[in-house]
């Protein structure tokens, strides 16, 4: 970090074209400009309008009253926080582990591994609406699961899985369906990450006497950290917006934040309360993203 004496008097004015576009200092900003402008027009402006509403009362004064007021009007406020967090807490790690397992399987490059990867990635293309529909068909009272158990003679009559009397069953059903639906995106990120890890590291670890688990724990996972971080950020953001699958399987007996926001907006025309929920989702997602960025930090020196 030697001190830089400013080189004086060596600059001549550059050609106009270069002054505007050509230099490497300005060029990246020009390249980012369209996406920034675009997102400002279609996202940031409408978004800020919506966020502002959450912090105003009916007369347009700034206030934080909407938060306690919402708690009084919506008895599902705290439950929604609770279930959203619980779902994220269970689903995200579960998906991470499953995706890692599948990714490691794919990475052994057995015959047919590409087909296997495609199969596992299929849910990537499904909307959450379709996924909700599919899993409702399975878990419903007269659904496929009960039909199968009945045909096998394991039960005499259908078991009601999706019942508000057993919230943890609802929870389990949502976990299963979300796990099925959204593991693919984590998988794809992790497979990509695994492919960038040179076999040399694994082989040298093997030579050093590391067994399968030690290699996974001490070599693969640390090297996979950037991909894990990306997968976690993307998945967690989506986990806090979980909505359609919950609605299909559990109605509002397993309230979640995004569903509440949607409900207040579309069924009760209350933009204020809906915005409060949206702001909470935004805040939580942001906090988690920053936490991931800090705790899974990839130091500059570690990058390949």
């Amino acid at each position: 970090m030697a001190p830089v004496e400013a080189p004086v008097g060596t600059h001549r004015p550059r050609p106009l074209r270069q002054r505007i576009l050509g230099t490497d200092t300005l060029l990246p900003y020009w390249l980012l400009l369209p996406s920034v402008l675009y997102l400002v027009l279609f996202f940031v402006i409408p978004l800020s309008q919506a966020i502002v509403v959450a912090f105003q009362d009916g007369a347009g004064n700034w206030t934080l009253e909407n938060f306690p007021k919402l708690r009084r009007w919506d008895f599902n406020f705290l439950p929604a926080l609770k279930w959203t967090f619980l779902l994220a807490l269970v689903i995200v790690p579960l998906q991470l582990v499953t995706a890692l397992l599948i990714a490691l399987l794919v990475n052994t490059r057995f015959r047919g591994s590409q087909l296997f990867l495609y199969v596992c990635a299929v849910p990537l293309g499904l909307s959450d609406l379709a996924a909700g529909l599919i899993w409702y068909g399975i878990f419903a009272d007269r659904g496929f699961l009960n039909s199968l158990l009945y045909t096998l003679g394991l039960i005499d009559a259908p078991i009601t899985i999706l019942t508000p009397d057993e919230r943890w069953w609802l929870f389990g059903a949502v976990v299963v369906a979300e796990h099925w639906r959204a593991t693919a995106i984590v998988l794809v990120v992790l497979v990509a990450g695994l492919q960038m890890i040179s076999k040399d590291y694994l082989e040298s670890a093997e030579v050093l006497g590391a067994n399968r688990w030690q290699r996974l724990w001490y070599v693969v996972l640390p090297l996979l950290r950037p991909s894990l971080q990306a997968a976690l950020i993307i998945r967690t953001i989506f986990a806090f917006e979980i909505f359609a699958v919950v609605l299909a399987l559990a109605g509002d007996f397993l309230p979640v934040l995004a569903e509440r926001a949607y409900n207040w907006y579309f069924f009760r025309q209350n933009l204020r309360f809906a915005s409060v929920y949206a702001v909470i989702i935004l805040a939580i997602s942001l906090i988690f993203t920053v936490l991931y960025l800090v705790f899974l930090r990839v130091r500059e020196e570690e990058r390949r």
Binding site: R72, W73, F75, Y136, A140, D141, R142, D156, A157, P158, T160, L162, T163, P164, D165, L247, A248, L249, A250, G251, D252, F253, E259, N263, Y265, F266, F267, R268, Q269, N270
Partner: protein, 438 residues
Amino acid sequence: MKGYKRIGLLIALLGLTAALGVPGDSLQAQPPRIVWVSTQLVPIQEAEFVRNEILKPFTEETGIEVEFIGAQYGELFTRLEGEARAGQGSTDLVGGLQGDFVGIAQFMDDVSDVLAGLGDRTFAAGDLQLGTLGGIQAFIPWMRATYLMMANKQALEYLPEGADLNALTYEQLVAWGQALQEATGEPKLGIPAGPRSLLHRFVHGYAYPSFTGSTVKRFLSDEAVTMWEFLRDELWPQVHPAVATADAMDTLLLEGTVWVAWDHSARLKQAPVERPEDFVAFPAPAGPYGRGFINILAGLGIPKTAPNRDAAAQLIEYLTRPETQVKILQGVGFFPSVEEAAGATPPGALKVLAEGVSAQASASDALPALIPGGLGPRGGDFGAIYRDTFIRIVINGEDIPTVLRQQGELLQELFQETGAACPLPDPADEQPCSVEGL
């Protein structure tokens, strides 16, 4: 390496098609074409019926093309609000329930003039009154429906002794449910409780009037406490838990999950349509104060921002013609709103439904209830208060007086803030309506 070229070609093709613009954008002047957004007749077969059987003749007659678009209420509201704020719109005609119009009345144009042009047909004065929202004639009565009960004929043999299907009481319904549960091993009653269900209508329009003779005023009265204990301890144990995620009862009836169910007539309809011989419709049960029920009125209105008001008025005229109304009854089972068409009966499967509806309307202890009209866009809050109360007490098992007090305060606040009058069967004289005992 050939792959690159192929993909390049593909991308170029995509880009080209994108650059050439989009087909189907209707920017040039065309023969009159109007947009009709409706929260009713949305299901795919009903919408097909409207387009093919109702609107096709209209287009042939007038040359006006109609785009019929099914929408949920929330979507309708959002669309109209956006159009109102933008000061221009594309929606010409709105079809919706009275409850829907309560919310969107602020965006609607006064259609008194259209009504004046319909002198040759008679609307019930009460219906026209319901259509008066925010000081204007917000909609013109279009068709009627109601919420009622439907049973699988298998269940009839377990009907308690002495019970008349057409004059059932809540006690008898519970006894029936018990008999069914004993016979089949599982609860067989159905009240929809899914996220988009009409559970709140059951609570405020059926249970409350039947048990307390009131919807709002006696929200936390002793009678209400008794009612909630009954719903929680007697009725709910006979209700199949699968209703929690069910928005309409016809599916559960067809599957045999439930044998006896309460729901909106349109949400029961599919059962007799699929298997006409298997089902029977009958009135909702009665409580100590009578047989509380809601008559649903659907209406037609024109938004302030409608680009083709005259064409929309022409369509209203067409849709309220007695012969059109009979056609709708026979096609999809909604009852006429003009008296000239009254008395017509639908054929086949829908007849089952019609019989139940007329039995309910003509019951000697009938206690009609209404959805309050003055709440404006906060009509959604009204329903939600009743639904939340039901879930907190009956499903979550919270303490009844505590819940009633908390929810009652919200109800009070709602009416105070909107200044709305009490809905039937509460007397409408007090404005704003208030909850007794707070």
